[in-house]
């Protein structure tokens, strides 16, 4: 095979690999099958496709080692929460950046939306109270970030889950505060009245 033909073959192969990666990222099985048909005539293309699949799995944390690491991380987070940095106070509204960070931790960001996701990570905008899809779309339009429907659906689901978690911890936090207040109040009841009410002299001043 001449140099020109080799170069042509290499370019055709590059295009096919690009088409396969795009198909994988968009979940386009028809386009992926088309490339596999081309690989039937090109063993080197098949080798590259196998490399691409391996890289995709590694990137998504889907190799056995990455999955084990994630499992350990989740177990530690569930059973030893003090090992992790203290979370935002429960009163603070959930922000777009916090939801984006959780999506990343849960590996739910489609790679085609990496760029949009990166922009959201730094956003401190609070989320709307009512997390309907139209409300999320309006928020996206306000921020000026374009991402796939799949991404926004995952974003909304995660925001709702985080919101529920936060309400739960807020309720626990409020209950603990209530208990503390009651305990403090009962301790105060043992003190002389003059300690908590102004004296006649203080009132005159």
């Amino acid at each position: 095979m001449g140099e020109h033909e080799t170069r042509e073959l290499e370019i055709t192969r590059m295009k096919a690999v690009h088409q396969y990666i795009q198909a994988l990222e968009r979940g386009d099985l028809d386009a992926a099958t088309q490339v596999l048909e081309a690989a039937l005539n090109d063993a080197e293309l098949d080798r590259i496709l196998a490399e691409v699949e391996q890289a995709y799995l590694q990137e998504q944390g889907l190799t056995p080692m990455a999955a084990d690491a994630q499992l350990v991380h989740n177990l530690v987070r569930d059973h030893l929460p003090s090992a992790f940095a203290e979370e935002t106070p429960a009163d603070a509204p959930l922000t777009v950046g916090e939801v984006a960070a959780r999506l990343q931790a849960d590996r739910r960001v489609p790679s085609t939306d990496d760029e949009a996701h990166r922009q959201l990570l730094s956003s401190t905008l609070p989320l709307p109270t009512w997390l309907s899809l139209p409300a999320i779309r309006k928020l996206a339009s306000n921020i000026g970030v374009a991402a796939s429907d799949r991404f926004w659906r995952a974003f909304r689901d995660t925001a709702i889950t985080m919101g529920m978690g936060r309400s739960h911890s807020h309720a626990q936090w409020a209950a603990a505060r209530e208990t503390r207040t009651r305990r403090d109040a009962s301790a105060d009841n043992t003190k002389p009245t003059s300690d908590i009410t102004p004296s006649a002299e203080e009132q005159r001043q």
């Binding site: 690009h18 795009q22 596999l36 098949d46 496709l49 196998a50 490399e51 994630q70 799949r150």
Partner: protein, 216 residues
């Protein structure tokens, strides 16, 4: 895998054709590669978000693929690599799983994810299709025209620094993917992925530029 062992015993009893021999070898030697390909596509379809379920689903699909492959073995050309043929069969099973999943979940498929929309995307040439963009990017190497090199350099100013760097290395410096992978400290597959995404972003940036004008 038990299902494949059953096939093996079946194959011993039947006439062992070159097709079946080749398929036996492929299932034995390329099982992990096949599983990787199946897992990647299952994940890409969003059928599960859990690694254990993904592994189980991939094993199921591989078993179904083996059944189909042995049934239609006479259609396989043993002179060709077996993996792409088997993976194409596996993708049919993944497609069926996706349909069943959509039915069960009464899932509403967004317009952008319908097969029609995907086909339209693939076939859309527009002012700059992926193929045209590739031809343009490889032109300094194929034509050695100075103007082509300038055109590519100008085009690359549209993308962010990290994308420009990898595109320059590949298309201006004309290094191989293996060398690119070594330079980036990633696998060869990851290097292909980096280039593919950089090209996609370049195309988007170019389309935005011609849609919204130079001042954008």
């Amino acid at each position: 895998m038990s299902e494949i062992s059953e096939h093996d015993s079946f194959v011993v009893d039947a006439d062992i054709t070159p097709q079946r021999q080749q398929l036996d070898a492929a299932f034995e030697q390329q099982r992990d590669l096949l599983l990787n390909g199946i897992k990647a596509h299952l994940w890409s379809q969003g059928l599960t978000r859990d690694y254990t379920t993904l592994t189980e689903l991939a094993e199921e699909v591989l078993q179904e693929t083996a059944e189909t492959a042995y049934r239609i073995a006479d259609q396989y050309d043993p002179a060709r690599p077996a993996r792409p043929w088997l993976l194409a069969i596996a993708l049919n099973h993944v497609r069926n799983l996706r349909r069943a999943h959509d039915r069960d979940e009464r899932h509403l498929v967004p317009v952008a994810e319908t097969p029609q929309a995907r086909a339209a995307y693939r076939n859309a040439d527009g002012p700059l299709s992926d193929d045209t963009l590739f031809d343009l990017l490889v032109s300094p190497v194929t034509s050695s025209e100075v103007d082509d090199r300038f055109a590519v350099e100008a085009l690359l100013t549209l993308v962010r620094d990290d994308d420009r760097r990898v595109l320059q290395m590949k298309f201006v410096d004309n290094i191989s993917y293996r060398e690119l992978a070594a330079a980036l400290g990633v696998s060869e597959g990851a290097a292909y992925t980096r280039i593919s995404r950089a090209i996609s972003r370049l195309r988007t940036a170019y389309m935005q530029r011609i849609t919204f004008g130079q001042e954008d």
